[in-house]
């Protein structure tokens, strides 16, 4: 059983507390992604799970057993580091086999296991090479292989893709997803890239400054962000935020005009709307302004619009995007609006659809 539980997990470096009591339950076989901006405590959390960092307070339990005082090697975990940490002086075979050095398995079995893993990762022809002779993606796979070979209950990944270029990233993302489907281990995956988070996770944990902001499936956090931080962090380009004054299910917009809300609220609110959800409209617009920049993305084009509510990003059809300098009027369906309390940033509960 590789159920993983964090209970009030806290980390202090000297005086400063960098992790303020994290609570999280991860089911056996679940793929959980930790995201958040740089310095929010993702790596620290992961390293405490691995046993590389001392736990200041709280517990880490793996398979129901509190492992706070166990050495990393006794926790039945494997970890893939951001910079791979594969040994430059060892061949791929040795690197992968390194994870088995401590095991009492007979030699022949070890060899078999290495070959097996190499096979899964499609690296059999590369076994005799040294890391310097590998491409970035191949190195990444060696690091994963070293983790896999031990067949651990829990895999920990710390930003394993951040050193790769975009093309390779997409490809590796897919391989990790496939790996998970095949071996069914519990995986905790750290990244600061929200696309990775979205595509890989069963559940996403969004962190900020040592606190968890929201835990949920990719769909949940995308569709129902718990607060403005999550709303802005998930989705690229970021969600637009428009200040407004709400009274019941309607809101007064900064540029004048009013709009219906999907939820009842009072006082200053922030209206969040994703660039994808903004459409040119003829009637009453949510925002209106002059296009300042156009970014063609291939299938779509992003337009940046200077409005009374600040700069707004919207996705326009690639074939007929508005000209730079032209004025556009953009609106959104009421159900695509996210309403947040301006003071606390917390999302206001939706009227059930």
């Amino acid at each position: 059983m590789a159920h993983l539980a964090l209970r009030n997990l806290t980390k202090r470096y000297g005086e400063t507390e960098v992790l303020h009591g994290i609570d999280l339950d991860i089911a056996d076989g679940e793929f959980v992604v930790l995201v958040g901006p740089s310095g929010c405590g993702k790596s620290t959390t992961l390293r405490m799970i691995a046993g590389l960092e001392e736990i200041s307070a709280g517990d880490v339990a793996i398979g129901g057993r509190v492992v706070n005082n166990l050495e990393p090697k006794d926790r039945d975990i494997a970890m893939v580091f951001q910079n791979y940490a594969i040994y430059p002086h060892m061949t791929v075979r040795k690197n992968i086999g390194f994870g088995l050095r401590a095991s009492k398995m007979p030699r022949a079995d070890k060899e078999r296991r290495i070959d097996e893993v190499a096979g899964i990762l499609d690296m059999t022809p590369l076994l005799a090479r040294k890391p310097a002779q590998l491409s970035g993606g191949q190195r990444q796979r060696v690091a994963i292989g070293r983790a896999m070979v031990r067949d651990p209950a829990v895999f920990l990944f710390d930003e394993p893709l951040s050193n790769l270029d975009a093309q390779l990233r997409t490809q590796m993302r897919l391989e990790i997803k496939k790996l998970h489907q095949r071996v069914g281990s519990t995986i905790v995956f750290v990244t600061h890239d929200q696309v990775e988070a979205m595509t890989l996770a069963d559940r996403i944990v969004i962190m900020k400054d040592g606190h968890i902001q929201q835990v949920g499936t990719p769909d949940e956090v995308y569709r129902h962000p718990a607060n403005t931080f999550v709303a802005r962090f998930i989705g690229a380009p970021s969600m637009n935020m428009i200040e407004a004054e709400a009274s019941d299910t309607a809101a007064q917009l900064p540029g004048g005009g009013a709009i219906a809300l999907p939820v009842a609220a009072q006082g200053p609110v922030l209206l969040g709307v994703r660039p994808d959800d903004l459409q040119p409209v003829e009637g009453p617009a949510l925002v209106e302004g002059r296009v300042t920049v156009r970014e063609p993305l291939g299938p779509d084009t992003l337009i940046y619009v200077d409005t009374a509510a600040g700069e707004i990003v919207a996705k326009a059809d690639a074939r007929t995007p508005p000209e730079v300098g032209s004025t556009v009027r953009l609106g959104a369906a009421a159900e695509d609006l996210h309403v947040f309390d301006k003071a606390s940033g917390a999302a206001l509960a939706r009227v059930p659809a």
């Binding site: 691995a50 990393p72 970890m79 580091f81 910079n83 390194f98 994870g99 401590a102």
Partner: protein, 295 residues
């Protein structure tokens, strides 16, 4: 003129402009005297009088000089004992010092202090340490546990290691610092990965630390080899009464050169010895660097 050069030619011009003064310096201050030594090695000269050509006499004399062969062997003994031992000790110290955080700077200074202290003064202290009872520290310690006396310096077998010890001791601090630098350049994630994989410290040391430290090791090997092949100060100061003794048991090549030049004033002979030393050093260094390059 300069304007019309290609970019590459301009680079070359700059390089030589930068090197101009140093090259003149090295040619005049270093190569010229070195060349001089090569010339003198074919001459006889007592420093006071005129020089006269003697062909290969000095080399023939060297070849037939039993002291030279003894000294030749000693010189390599210094190299072959000194380099590995100082390498090993300084590595062990650095390895552990690297893991210590409490009063780290203080400990480091303790190890570096000998490197900074006057060799003359230290040699005297060491000589006293080596004395027989009642004065010698080491022999007194041996005596207090009932072990028979050891003739450290007054022995043809023990003297060389005994003289080498202070040299190793004094150079340790320098090597420790370089090793620590090397150790700290190894990313911690390698060790963390190893901890997660559950390998022991010995495996970490032999499979990770040492292979990754190889560039540092080579750096130290080359420089400490040059140092031990050129050992002089420590031997001279440790054996002032009987330089290189007893019975030339501790005499290195540089000391022989020094004596030949400045007590016997046989400059030609000293120059011939210098040429031999130069060749030994060159060959040893090139071999070491070759081994490094063939990596």
């Amino acid at each position: 003129m300069f304007k019309n050069l290609t970019i590459r030619q301009k680079q070359i011009a700059w390089a030589w402009a930068f090197l101009a003064v140093p090259v003149i310096f090295y040619v005049v201050i270093r190569f010229y005297p070195t060349g001089n030594a090569f010339v003198i090695s074919f001459q006889e000269w007592n420093l006071l009088g005129t020089r006269s050509w003697t062909g290969l006499d000095n080399y023939v004399k060297l070849w037939n000089d039993p002291v030279f062969w003894k000294v030749f062997i000693n010189t390599f003994e210094y190299l072959l004992i000194g380099t590995p031992i100082s390498l090993l000790i300084s590595f062990i110290i650095a390895y552990h010092l690297d893991k210590v955080r409490t009063a780290h700077g203080f400990l480091r200074m303790l190890y570096f202090l000998p490197f900074m202290t006057s060799a003359v003064a230290m040699a005297w202290v060491w000589r006293w340490f080596y004395q027989p009872v009642p004065t010698g520290l080491f022999n007194n310690m041996l005596a207090s546990v009932g072990i028979p006396q050891i003739a450290f310096l007054n022995s043809t077998t023990n003297a060389l290691p005994a003289v080498l010890a202070p040299a190793v001791w004094a150079g340790l601090g320098f090597q420790v610092i370089i090793f620590m630098a090397g150790l700290r350049a190894i990313p911690t994630s390698y060790y963390e990965a190893a901890r997660i994989d559950g390998v022991g410290w010995w495996t970490q040391l032999t499979q990770i630390t040492i292979p990754l430290l190889r560039p540092t090791i080579v750096f130290i090997v080359v420089f400490s080899s040059i140092g031990f092949l050129r050992i002089f100060d420590h031997v001279f100061n440790m054996t002032t009464n009987n330089p290189g003794g007893p019975l030339n048991a501790t005499k290195p090549l540089v000391l022989m050169i020094y004596e030949t030049a400045f007590s016997s004033f046989d400059m030609g002979y000293a120059a011939a010895q210098t040429v031999v030393l130069f060749l030994i050093l060159l060959v040893v260094s090139l071999i070491q660097l070759r081994l490094l390059r063939s990596d």
